[in-house]
Structure formats: structure tokens, C-alpha cells
């Protein structure tokens, strides 16, 4: 009766959801990380207005990630979250502060600087926590009978601290290239100026992670140094994207730096996926072992095939409504 390999299809859907989240919330988190370094308060207003209409929708992809994992791979959901208990709290606390800062900052007068810090601090903590989650996934989890049995802070290691920093650098780069796309004048010039140092930071941190990763786990090493040489195209593509970012910033192109940064993220992400495929709860469980019941996966899949294109369509439409440059003093507040 099982006509399709549903867990496989679901792995693609969840994988798609995760990269959608990373790219979309990535740039608005990045804008938050860069917030304290902006030239002045007017620039901060513009920065915030450039993401204000869309951040809520972007963050919804994270909620979909949570709910989708529960539906399709409940074992991932019920092992990752207990294992990352403290980190998840920090992530959520960060998202709360930066989320309310959107509304509160524009209503504040003398306390506005507090919400600047809430926005920047929340974005930074949340980004770091997400990077640490990626690192923890590469490390693997201590489980027994499908249940997490490790300690509260097992996830926090030098390696995950490094992946956390990598995510901070990466999101900052997404944020700065987003600002190049969406702003003009001195703010855009500032964004151009910081993009190349950020790119350098990303390459350094990603490079160290790339060299370190094979030593964290035997399986990952085998994957990269066995005869599966085709996957080496991914780091090559990542480098090509980096070169493209450099050239387009040098030539003062508006849109290309952001597009190339998204490319850099996608190729790095695929590299991560092939490192661990098909394990979703390393080192024990594959995506087929972690899957929910066939009928549950099918029931949700049928709906999603219909609904997700509609979601993508109206999401694209809202980006189109708010297309073009954001100018100082625009925005509804």
C-alpha cells in the first residue's frame, strides 16, 4: 500500500522549509545584528522599516519547521528539543525581544535606545543559538530507545560555539547585502563598506568549520573523502558565490550581492545535508526510522501540495507590494 517513499518526500519538504527560514529570517536577523553599528538613528529607522512588513511571515517558517518536524519526523522533534533545552530557551527569548521591538521601538521616545538593544541583542542571541543547533546536529546526540538521555549542556562545545559564530557572520552578511538591495544614499554606502569584511569573516569561520567538521565525526569524514567526489562541487560553488559577492560589491551592483549571498547559504546548506544524509538524528537514526505513521504523512502531504504554492504566491506578492527602496521617514508609524 505504501506507493511512495513518503519519508523521503517529507525530508525534501522539511529541508525546503529550513532553507526558506534560514534565507528569509536570516536577512532580518542580520539587520538586527548590524543594528548597533549603523551610522545613525535615522539609518536604524530605515533598516527596521526595510524588514518590518515581512519579518512576521519570515519567522512563520520557523513555526512551520517545528510543527512540520512534529508531523513528519516526531523523533527529531522529541530528541532535538530536550537535548537543546537551554539553547531553545535562549533562541526563543531572543526572538521574543526582537519581535516586540518592531512595535515598541516606534512607539518609544526616551526609552527607544532600550529597544535598539532588545532588537540587536535578541537577533544576535537567536542567530547564535541557531548556529549552535547546526553544530549540535553535526556532533550528534546521545540517545537510547529513541529518547534523549544526555545532559542539559552537552550541546555546548567549542565546535558549536564556532558554528554559532559562523551563523552570526553569515546572517550579518545576508543583512548587509539586503540593505544594499533595499536602501540608498549613505546607508547603502555603509552597507557596501561593511559587506567585504563580513564576507571575509564568513569565509574564515566557514573555512575553519569545514576543516574541523570531518574530525568531529568519522562518518562525515568518510562521506567527504570516499569516492563520492561529486559532492566537492558544493564547496567549489560556495567559493564561486563568494567571488561573485566580492565582484558585485566592487562594481556597486544593487541586487547581485544579496542573490550571491543566498547562493552561498544554499550551497553550504547542501554541503551540510550531504555530510549527514540520511541521518536525521545522528549518529543513530535515519529519516525512515524517525518518520511518523504513513497515513499521517500522507494526510498532511495532500493538503500541503495544495496550500504551499498558494502560500508562496501571496508571500511573493507581499514582497512585490513592498518592492523598491525604503526611504528615510517612510513606514506607517
Amino acid at each position: 500500500m505504501e506507493l511512495f517513499d513518503l519519508p523521503l518526500i517529507w525530508a525534501f519538504i522539511i529541508g525546503f522549509g529550513i532553507i526558506m527560514y534560514v534565507l528569509m529570517d536570516g536577512f532580518d536577523l542580520g539587520v538586527g545584528i548590524l543594528f548597533p553599528f549603523a551610522p545613525n538613528e535615522e539609518a536604524r529607522d530605515t533598516m527596521m522599516n526595510s524588514v518590518a512588513p515581512v519579518w512576521d511571515g519570515n519567522e512563520t517558517w520557523l513555526v512551520l519547521g517545528g510543527a512540520g518536524l512534529l508531523a513528519a519526523f516526531p523523533m527529531v522533534y522529541s530528541i532535538f528539543l530536550p537535548a537543546l533545552y537551554i539553547g531553545v530557551f535562549l533562541l526563543l527569548a531572543g526572538l521574543i525581544f526582537r519581535g516586540v521591538a518592531f512595535e515598541f521601538r516606534f512607539k518609544a521616545r526616551t526609552s527607544r535606545y532600550l529597544w535598539n538593544w532588545a532588537f540587536a541583542g535578541g537577533s544576535t542571541v537567536a542567530s547564535f543559538a541557531q548556529g549552535a543547533v547546526v553544530g549540535a546536529y553535526i556532533q550528534g546526540f546521545e540517545t537510547a530507545n529513541g529518547v534523549y538521555v544526555g545532559g542539559a549542556l552537552d550541546w555546548l562545545t567549542p565546535f558549536t560555539v564556532l558554528t554559532g559564530l559562523g551563523m552570526l557572520a553569515g546572517y550579518s552578511l545576508l543583512g548587509s547585502t539586503w540593505l544594499i538591495l533595499k536602501t540608498e544614499g549613505y546607508l547603502q554606502q555603509w552597507a557596501y563598506k561593511i559587506t567585504l569584511p563580513l564576507l571575509l569573516a564568513v569565509l574564515v569561520v566557514f573555512g575553519i568549520i569545514g576543516v574541523w567538521t570531518p574530525f568531529v565525526d568519522d562518518m562525515v569524514r568518510e562521506r567527504w573523502f570516499s569516492n563520492l567526489t561529486i559532492i566537492w562541487i558544493l564547496p567549489v560553488l560556495t567559493l564561486l558565490c563568494a567571488i561573485q559577492i566580492y565582484r558585485s560589491v566592487r562594481d556597486r551592483k544593487d541586487g547581485m550581492p544579496f542573490v550571491a549571498t543566498m547562493g552561498l547559504f544554499i550551497t553550504t546548506y547542501l554541503g551540510l545535508v550531504v555530510s549527514r544524509w540520511p541521518y536525521v538524528v545522528p549518529p543513530e537514526y535515519t529519516l525512515w526510522e524517525a518518520a511518523s505513521a504513513y497515513e499521517s504523512q500522507l494526510f498532511l502531504l495532500l493538503g500541503l501540495l495544495f496550500v504551499i504554492p498558494i502560500v508562496l504566491a501571496y508571500t511573493a506578492w507581499t514582497y512585490w507590494v513592498f518592492r523598491g527602496k525604503v526611504r528615510a521617514g517612510e513606514g506607517y508609524h
Binding site: A52, P53, D56, G57, T60, L62, V63, L64, G66, A67, G68, L70, A71, A72, P74, M75, Y77, S78, L81, P82, A83, Y85, I86, V88, F89, L92, A93, L95, I96, F97, G99, V100, E103, F104, K107, A108, R109, T110, S111, L114, V147, Y148, V149, A152, S292, A293, E295, S296, F299, L300, L304, I308, V311, Y314, T315, W317, T318, V321, F322, Y332
Partner: protein, 480 residues
């Protein structure tokens, strides 16, 4: 004392879900109201409607923002603290929550952006459509989440095999026995909340003589709405109670404070349930009325708590009293709605000071009633998490220690206390600013014109000045 992760996780869940619930319960009602205002604005071109809509959309934005961020927390609670429950119920709850995200959350988020920021960027018709989509999203969201919640009270369409629930019938599981009642009860509660808040704020403006024309209209609209739905809610609530009696009799026993199964059970107006000795202290009741309400016969038999073991009973006192708070507020709501109708004679409803003062205070009542109602239904289910099938103790995350649970409990309390006080403060500021200055930039230049906002400035920390805040203000205004 050993820290118990179970009780700490229960407190944490109760805290984060209660905190979250107060926002959507308001925004569901308010979203529909805004959609109606936008519709009227679109049809009649009367500027009053645009004014009202723009004002209430601002309020909506602040409240919705807090609802969104506290909602993100909810989508991870099952995994962090209740991972055994997540693992066991994922086959049903996973699709429910996922459908909620894709059919409701994206819809709300995308169109909210257009509603808030797009008035000048899209045609008026599209702006109206955005308002309708946001309102629609809130209903779709309640549908899925209340279905999931109802299933935990009256599980159906699933079977438990080796510790995991498998869905045998989606329609039976989604439309489980308590769902229609809970859904109707909750949607009406949302309308009551939206209605009483809008009415209360309008009443307050009328007391101050601000924007009388617009606020009179808003108050009148709300009073008509409340006149119909407040009594309807009482009827729906009664049906919901009868459904609970059928499926969760223990909860009803706790609501009524009824220890022994018996006939001619009185409706207790006051009592102090003493769970240790399985009896009530200081009972005051109306003879046989509980029997009549629950069975529609004066000598009907009402089940008592004695039918189950003491350690399988829910905490009776909190269920008993929460129920009375909810019903008491419900009756008060009906009284105010009817009074509003009476005062329409001679157009007194918007000029009668005591009535407007009363409406003003009633704006917080629905929130208390809603939380009390949720306490009744959720605590009344204890010790079960999935009624009759999985206990709270079985559902807990195995690796969770008391220390971890305490850390996040304190963390959430601190974070929410900060966010909530700031949210209420800025909401108050939006209310003080009112409907009058929609088009003006409110950041800097508006301070001197508004006596009310000046009264609240000292709340803020002034980092630029060593002077006391009160004396620093006038000099700094010149500097802008």
C-alpha cells in the same frame, strides 16, 4: 526540597499558554471588527470609519505582535518539556499544528504586513481584502488548535498501540465529541473580548469627550453585538457543560464541588472545597439547581468525585472557583449588554456616566473570564493529559531535570514580565494618543499638545539627563 520537573513543567506550560492565550482571544474578535470597519469605510467613504479602523489597527498591531512571539514559544513547548507526549501524539497533533501554520499563520502574517503598512501602496479594495484575510486567518487558526486541544479532552478516531497514537479516522479525530462545543464557546468568547474592549475604550473616550461622533458609533456597534452574543454564550456554555458531563464527568463533579454521587444536588454559590477530607466547608447553595441545570430534571443524578480514587481527582478548589469566576463574569456581561439596550431609549447610552464607567472596567473582564474558563477545562482534566489514555506524568520529557525546568520557568516569567509591562505601557500610550492624530508623526513633536502622555513620561528611563525627569522635559523639548 527535591525539585520536581513535572510540577515545574505544568506551571511553566500553564504560565506560557495563559500568557499567550490573552492575545489571540482579543485579536480574533478585533480582526473581525477591523474588517467590518474597513468594509464600511470602503462602501460609505465616511471618514469616521477610516479613523476608527486606523486606530484599532494600531492597537491590533501591538497585541498581535505579542501574540506572535509568545506563540512561537508554544510551538516548541511540546518538545522541550513534554517530549513523550509529542512522540506519542505526533501522528495526530503534528498534522493539526502544521495545517494551522500553513492555512492560518502565513495568511495572517502576509496580509497583516499589507494591512499595517500598505494603505498607500495597494488599492482600497485590496486593503479591505487584507483585513478580511487577517480575520479569516484567525478563525482558521482557532479551528485547528481547538480541534487539537479538544482531542486531548475527548480523544476519538485514534488508537493507542505500543505507546503511540495512530489515526484510524481523520474526521472522527478532528471533529471529536467536544470540538463543536469548545469551538463555538471560544469564538463567542473572542467576540465578547473584542466587543467589550472596543466598547470599554470607546466609553472612556466618551467620558473624556474625545472624538464623540466616532466613539459613539463604535460603542453602539459593540452594544448591539454584545446584546446578541452575551446571552448566546450562556446557552452555548450550557451545552458545552452537558457535553463535558457526558465525556468527562469528573471535571463536572469538580466544577460543582460535588463529592458524592446523588440526586437533588444544590447549585453551590459559595464553598471551600476540602480535598483532603473530601468535603466542602461553608456551603451556600440553591437546592436542586445543579441537578436541574445538568440533567434538566430537579431530581437528576449528578456524579460525584467519590466515584474515582483520590489520587486520580483533579485539584477541586481551583476548578470550582475558576468556574464561578467565569460564570459570574458571564452574567455581568449579559447585565451590561441589556442595560445598554435599555439606555438606548432617549439616546442615553453614550451620555450616562455610571454606565460608561462600568463599561470601561468591563474591558478587562473578558480576559479574566477566558483564563478562568481555560483553568476549568485544563486543570479539570488532571491528572490526564490525553483524557483516559495518557497521564501528565507519562508525558514528561525523560531527560528533563528539576533544575532545567526551574531555569526556564524563571526565564519565561522574567521575559514575559518585561514584555508584558512594556506592551501594556505602549498600548496605553496608543490609547492616550487616541483617534485624533492619525496622520501626524508621533515620534517627536507631539508631546506638548497632549496632556495625558505627559503624565506618563516619568515611567521611562531618561538616559540623557541627570535632572529629574519631570523638570528635564520642558527644556529638552526645545532641543528637538
Amino acid at each position: 526540597m527535591e525539585l520536581d520537573p513535572l510540577i515545574l513543567s505544568r506551571i511553566q506550560f500553564a504560565f506560557v499558554v495563559s500568557f499567550h492565550a490573552i492575545f489571540p482571544v482579543f485579536t480574533i474578535g478585533l480582526a473581525s471588527y477591523i474588517a467590518v470597519l474597513e468594509g464600511l469605510a470602503f462602501k460609505t467613504e465616511n471618514p469616521v470609519w477610516v479613523k476608527l479602523s486606523a486606530f484599532w489597527t494600531k492597537v491590533f498591531a501591538v497585541v498581535f505582535g505579542m501574540g506572535v512571539v509568545s506563540g512561537i514559544v508554544m510551538s516548541f513547548q511540546f518538545g522541550t518539556n513534554w517530549s513523550n507526549f509529542a512522540q506519542a501524539s505526533a501522528n495526530f497533533l503534528g498534522p493539526m499544528l502544521s495545517y494551522e501554520v500553513v492555512t492560518a499563520f502565513f495568511l495572517e502574517a502576509a496580509f497583516l504586513g499589507v494591512l499595517l503598512f500598505g494603505r498607500d501602496k495597494v488599492p482600497a479594495g485590496i486593503h479591505l481584502l487584507a483585513a478580511i484575510m487577517v480575520a479569516t486567518g484567525t478563525f482558521i487558526s482557532s479551528f485547528w488548535i481547538l480541534s487539537a486541544n479538544s482531542w486531548m479532552h475527548t480523544p476519538a478516531g485514534t488508537e493507542l498501540r505500543e505507546g503511540v497514537f495512530y489515526v484510524t479516522s481523520w474526521s472522527e479525530a478532528i471533529f471529536n465529541p467536544s470540538f463543536p462545543y469548545r469551538f463555538s464557546h471560544m469564538v463567542l468568547a473572542s467576540f465578547l473580548t473584542g466587543g467589550f474592549v472596543v466598547a470599554g475604550v470607546s466609553a472612556w473616550y466618551l467620558l473624556l469627550g474625545r472624538e464623540v461622533e466616532a466613539n459613539k458609533k463604535a460603542l453602539s456597534m459593540c452594544l448591539w453585538l454584545l446584546l446578541f452574543i452575551a446571552p448566546t454564550q450562556a446557552v452555548v456554555g450550557d451545552f458545552h457543560g452537558l457535553n463535558t458531563l457526558e465525556h468527562q464527568p469528573v471535571k463536572v463533579s469538580a466544577m460543582e464541588g460535588n463529592w458524592e454521587t446523588s440526586r437533588n444536588v444544590p447549585l453551590l454559590l459559595f464553598a471551600i472545597p476540602d480535598q483532603q477530607n473530601q468535603q466542602n466547608l461553608f456551603e451556600i447553595g440553591i437546592p436542586s439547581l445543579a441537578s436541574f441545570i445538568l440533567t434538566h430534571e430537579w431530581d437528576g443524578e449528578v456524579p460525584g468525585l467519590n466515584e474515582i480514587a483520590v489520587d486520580e481527582q483533579p485539584p477541586v478548589a481551583i476548578v470550582f472557583w475558576s468556574f464561578r469566576v467565569m460564570v459570574g463574569i458571564g452574567l455581568l456581561m449579559i447585565a451590561f449588554a441589556v442595560t445598554g439596550l435599555i439606555l438606548r431609549a432617549g439616546g442615553r447610552y453614550w451620555r450616562t456616566t455610571w454606565f460608561l464607567q462600568g463599561m470601561r472596567f468591563m474591558s478587562v473582564a473578558p480576559f479574566i473570564a477566558v483564563l478562568a474558563g481555560w483553568f476549568v477545562t485544563e486543570i479539570g482534566r488532571a491528572p490526564w493529559l490525553v483524557y483516559g489514555q495518557m497521564t501528565q506524568a507519562q508525558a514528561l520529557t525523560p531527560s528533563l531535570t528539576g533544575g532545567m525546568a526551574l531555569f526556564t520557568l524563571i526565564g519565561y516569567i522574567v521575559v514575559y514580565a518585561l514584555v508584558f509591562s512594556a506592551g501594556v505601557y505602549y498600548l496605553m500610550r496608543v490609547l492616550y494618543v487616541g483617534l485624533e492624530d492619525q496622520d501626524e508623526d508621533e515620534h517627536e513633536s507631539d508631546r506638548p499638545k497632549r496632556p495625558f502622555s505627559a503624565a506618563h513620561v516619568p515611567f521611562e528611563i531618561d538616559h540623557n539627563s541627570d535632572d529629574t525627569v519631570g523638570t528635564a522635559k520642558p527644556t529638552r523639548q526645545g532641543g528637538h
